[in-house]
């Protein structure tokens, strides 16, 4: 299950999608918009995705962790558009017979997502905005 949507994410849908009677461990990770970053207050975020490449890369990452770890099912949802403080930008659910591969593969998935999936985050703070991680994106006056 791969979801890229501008609607609020529903973690239970993903967790339920990966459950199976053969699995002893289910992890659900939520990435949440924090009210601060780099020492300044954040007002909200805005995410942009290059589709369908983002969907394809997410599928490749699912295949990658399924190859490398003994896990069962993976579900991923990423929100795009405006995401307010406390709202979810990312949900990943992974099921496995045992807990350790579930933890390791979920963490690896997120690390890789932040390297190769064409999704960008713009941070809006008081007095400006910035594309996160882009060295040429200057703090712009609002």
């Amino acid at each position: 299950m791969i979801i890229i949507t501008d609607q609020p994410l529903e973690p239970n849908i993903l967790t339920d999608a990966v459950r199976d009677d053969t699995d002893g461990a289910v992890i659900t990770f939520e990435g949440v918009t924090r009210n601060h970053n780099d020492g300044r207050g954040v007002e909200y975020l805005e995410y942009e995705a290059y589709r369908p490449m983002a969907d394809e890369k997410l599928q490749e990452l699912i295949d990658e962790i399924k190859d490398r770890w003994e896990i069962d099912k993976v579900a991923i949802a990423h929100r795009i558009g405006r995401v307010d403080i406390g709202e979810l930008s990312l949900v990943i659910a992974v099921s496995a017979a045992h807990r350790r591969p579930a933890f390791e593969s979920t963490l690896h998935f997120i690390d890789r997502l932040k390297q190769v999936v064409p999704i960008w985050k713009k941070e809006y703070f008081e007095g400006g905005d910035v594309w996160v991680g882009d060295p040429d994106s200057k703090r712009a006056s609002a």
Binding site: W120, V132, G133, S137
Partner: protein, 81 residues
């Protein structure tokens, strides 16, 4: 041959557009396409050292060649999650 170029996020902001179309000779590389995009964009923009490129949804090297009808995406540092 004709290459469609897409620019995203901060790169789109700096170039003043997210979509360009460039004409290139046979055998042109990704790097050639990027230079053409710099010429054709409404605003001058510099390619950051961390710029990545994808052709038809797969990452490519700047030395790879492009083909007529390709969609070249110029991808500044990603920051999903």
């Amino acid at each position: 041959m004709k290459i469609a170029i897409k620019l995203f996020a901060g790169l789109r902001d700096r170039a003043g557009t997210g979509d360009l179309s460039v004409e290139l000779p046979e055998g042109a590389t990704v790097r050639d396409a990027i230079e053409a995009a710099q010429h054709n964009a409404p605003k001058k923009w510099a390619a950051p050292t961390s710029l990545m490129a994808a052709v038809n949804n797969e990452y490519v090297e700047f030395t790879d060649t492009v083909a007529d009808g390709d969609e070249l995406a110029l991808i500044p540092p990603v920051s999903g999650g």
